[in-house]
């Protein structure tokens, strides 16, 4: 429990751009909320690897959203069922049902449809809110913590310098 929290703090405190972190969290939300073995998650994996997003944030977010997805599955089912049974969308679903790609995507499954709809709808808002929150954290909380005497004292120790050197070698510190 402590280790993921430390990882999160390390990511937030690093030099990584807020957009890289929040985009990683958004991708993690899509992959985590929806069933993992879905075709669209292959695309998410490709994007996560090709687009320069923070991988640690993605992995942390994936773990978080997978747990959340398990809890919310019944709600996703209800939403997916409502969407798939909506008369206004029937023609769209029928057209999709007759395409190989959509069948591979398994869009006609209620949980896939419900969770994907929620993830896509929340993608942009989460990205914007994430960016804002990370910036505010760094401007206010992080700046205040760094100015405290305790941190100043810690930074002056040899142990901290050794830690920074090791972290720089591992690429954790940005």
């Amino acid at each position: 429990m402590l280790r993921p929290l430390l990882k999160l703090l390390r990511v937030l405190n690093s030099e990584t751009r807020p957009a890289q972190i929040s985009l990683a969290v958004c991708f993690a939300m899509v992959a985590g909320l929806t069933p993992l073995a879905s075709l669209h998650n292959l695309l998410v994996l490709l994007l996560v690897l090709v687009v320069r997003v923070n991988l640690s944030a993605f992995l942390l977010g994936l773990a978080l959203f997978s747990g959340l997805g398990y809890v919310l599955d019944p709600s996703f089912h209800t939403l997916g069922l409502a969407l798939l049974q909506a008369p206004a969308l029937h023609a769209t679903w029928t057209a999709l049902y007759n395409t190989t790609l959509a069948r591979l995507e398994h869009f006609n499954n209620t949980v896939v449809m419900g969770s994907l709809a929620v993830a896509l709808a929340a993608f942009l808002p989460l990205f914007l809110v994430g960016n804002t929150l990370i910036r505010r954290y760094r401007d206010h909380v992080l700046a205040w913590v760094r100015k405290t005497r305790l941190v100043q004292a810690l930074k002056a120790t040899k142990l901290y310098n050794t830690y920074r050197a090791v972290s720089a070698l591992r690429g954790d510190v940005g």
Binding site: R17, P35, L36, A37, S38, L42, L45, L46, V48, L49, V50, V51, R52, S66, G69, Y70, D73, P74, F76, H77, T78, G80, L81, L84, Q85, H90, W93, T94, Y97, N98, T100, R103, L104, H106, N108, N109, T110, V111, V112, G114
Partner: protein, 603 residues
């Protein structure tokens, strides 16, 4: 800083390639595991695969040593298949359609023993669906009849009931008559009349006394007349009652014959009970075959129709697991079943040999495919028969109106040592014979209809019987001469509750053979039964006759009272004539007679 890291693409391709390689590497075990898991869940007992090999170019699968446990008998495989080889059309697979153009199943063997139990953990083996049908004895009429006395004890007899009813009625009438007679004038009362008469003496020369005497005599006459009328009416009523009761006694005496006739019919001593000999001889064995066929059909039936086709309009509860939920179906431009085996070449290994055949269009989505499942098996190389064909169709295109048909023909089936009847009285075995069998079965929306016939030639029956004479010996002797016969059968009802009717030439043969024995036995039984019934009726009837006799005595008593009363009445009339009409007129003269005549009519 660039937003693109091209090395990520390389990682992605590496990951995808690694995943593909891993899938290809574990495809065989994965397929094996999938078949075993899904199969076990579907069957309700362990499904095991010896080996599975998936090929990609062309896409296909080879499964070796598939064992499907019989859920009702975990130490037996419902079916074991040595090898299944099939190809899969790749393009429909992308649309989640498993289309198998050709499948070959070699070495399909039903009911093979298992080395270890195939029951799933936590699941008890259910009871055998097919109830065993032990061979029964032939219901020979008369052989197991109870003794007449026992029979009378357990039967409701109309004659005895009539006698008891009559006895109760007679007792009631007897009591009523005794009461009524007690209220009527008896000998003592009549003696009083006589005493009153004796006191009324003729007083001469006293006109007033003569008038009083006449009035007293007339009063006495009226009293007696009233009582005599009561006695006369009572006697008429008693006579009517006696006549009715005697008629009823006669009816009770005739009733035993009706009882005997009814009991003879009931205990099949008329010979009619022999009409179902075919049913008794072959019914259990053929019912067992029908049960087996129905059991196999019920095992396969769930795979002929999709249990719940989720459509865009039905509500379903979600499964709480990742990738759960339900799949909704939408209209397809080019509909294809989700699963289809276009052609399956199957070779079934039976103890008698191998039967090869073809099954077309195996799918749970016949409504989508628009074609029924058809099958066609044949063999000319089976031991114990010249040839066998089995063909049919399982039509579930309209799930509401399914219709399944099958035609079976067997040529020259050599029946030997087929035990038909097993009882102490008679054991019967079809020692040898050759049968040509034709059967057509039709299951339409749950209603089963089947007709079949078997012509047996070169027949020889073997019988064992403990009795030298009697019906069992007659059966044995009659069947000894039978060399050929025909058996016809018809099944109707539902698959779970059907009615089997059988008829054959043997019915007539055995009926003729039974004739003489039956006649003698029937006559003997009738005599014994009549005697026993007469004996049983003797008590109640004797009592009734005694009571009726006692009523007759009451009639005598009434007769005596009437006679005595009539004597007194005659004497009163005589005295009235003597005393009034003759001597009074002489003494008093015509004037008084004229004066009194108007006031005393009758003088």
């Amino acid at each position: 800083m660039s937003w693109i890291r091209w090395q990520g693409l390389l990682v992605f391709l590496t990951v995808v390639a690694g995943l593909t390689a891993a899938v290809a590497f574990i495809a065989g075990p994965l397929v094996k595991w999938t078949i075993e898991g899904a199969g076990s869940r579907a069957v309700g007992a362990r499904v095991e695969v010896g080996d599975a090999h998936l090929s990609f170019l062309p896409l296909g699968l080879v499964v070796a040593d598939l064992q499907v446990t019989n859920p009702e008998a975990p130490m037996t495989n419902a079916v074991q298949i040595d090898r299944i080889e099939l190809g899969v059309e790749p393009l429909p697979l992308l649309r989640r359609k498993v289309i198998i153009p050709a499948l070959e199943a070699v070495g399909v063997r039903p009911n093979t023993p298992r080395a270890r139990s195939g029951a799933l953990p936590g699941r008890e083996a259910t009871q055998e669906e097919t109830p065993s049908r032990p061979l029964a004895g032939l219901p020979l009429p008369g052989i197991d009849l109870p003794s007449p006395r026992q029979l009378l004890d357990q039967e409701d007899l109309a004659s005895v009931a009539l006698a008891q009813q009559l006895q109760a009625d007679v007792q009631q009438r007897q009591a009523a008559w005794r009461e009524r007679l007690a209220a009527l004038p008896d000998q003592e009362k009549l003696a009083e009349y006589r005493a009153r008469l004796d006191r009324l003496k003729v007083v001469k020369k006293d006109p007033q006394a003569l008038l009083t005497l006449r009035a007293d005599l007339q009063a006495l006459q009226a009293d007696l007349g009233s009582d005599l009328k009561g006695l006369g009416d009572a006697r008429d009523g008693l006579k009517d009652d006696l006549a009715t009761l005697r008629t009823r006694v006669a009816a009770v005496r005739a009733a035993p014959q009706q009882d005997v006739t009814r009991l003879k019919e009931k205990y099949a001593l008329s010979g009619e009970g022999l009409s179902n000999v075919s049913q008794a001889l072959f019914g259990n064995r053929i019912s067992g075959w029908v049960d087996t066929a129905v059991t196999w059909y019920r095992r396969l039936a769930p795979y002929l129709e999709r249990r719940s086709a989720a459509t865009g309009k039905k509500e379903h509860a979600p499964r709480r697991e990742r990738a759960g939920g339900i799949d909704l179906r939408f209209p397809e431009h080019d509909p294809l079943p989700d699963f289809l085996i276009r052609t399956a070449q199957v070779s079934v290994v039976l103890p008698a040999g191998t039967v090869a055949g073809r099954i077309n269009d195996i799918t749970p989505d016949q409504d989508v495919l628009g074609r029924p499942l058809t099958f066609d098996f044949a063999s000319d190389a089976l031991q114990g028969m010249k040839g066998l064909t089995l063909a049919g169709a399982l039509n579930h295109i309209d799930p509401q109106q399914p219709r399944d048909t099958a035609d079976l023909t067997v040529r020259g089936y050599r029946a030997s040592g087929v035990e038909l009847v097993k009882s102490d009285a008679l054991g019967l075995t079809l020692a040898e014979g050759a049968a040509d069998i034709a059967l057509h079965a039709d299951l339409r929306a749950g209603e089963l209809g089947a007709k079949g016939s078997a012509a047996l030639d070169g027949v020889r029956f073997a019988t064992t019987t403990e009795s030298k004479g009697g019906l069992a010996a007659s059966v044995a002797a009659a069947l000894d001469d039978v060399r050929r016969f025909r058996l016809d059968g018809e099944v109707s009802g539902t698959a779970t509750d059907y009615d089997l009717r059988l008829s054959s030439d043997l019915d007539r043969v055995l009926k003729d053979a039974f004739g003489k024995q039956l006649k003698a036995r029937a006559a003997e039984f009738e005599t014994q039964l009549t005697a026993a019934l007469d004996e049983r009726l003797a008590g109640p009837l004797g009592a009734v006759e005694g009571q009726v006799g006692e009523l007759g005595l009451l009639d005598g008593d009434l007769q005596a009272r009437l006679t005595e009363g009539n004597v007194v009445r005659d004497e009163i009339e005589k005295r009235l004539k003597e005393a009034v009409a003759g001597k009074i007129e002489e003494k008093l003269g015509g004037g008084l007679k004229e004066r009194l005549g108007g006031k005393l009519p009758g003088f």
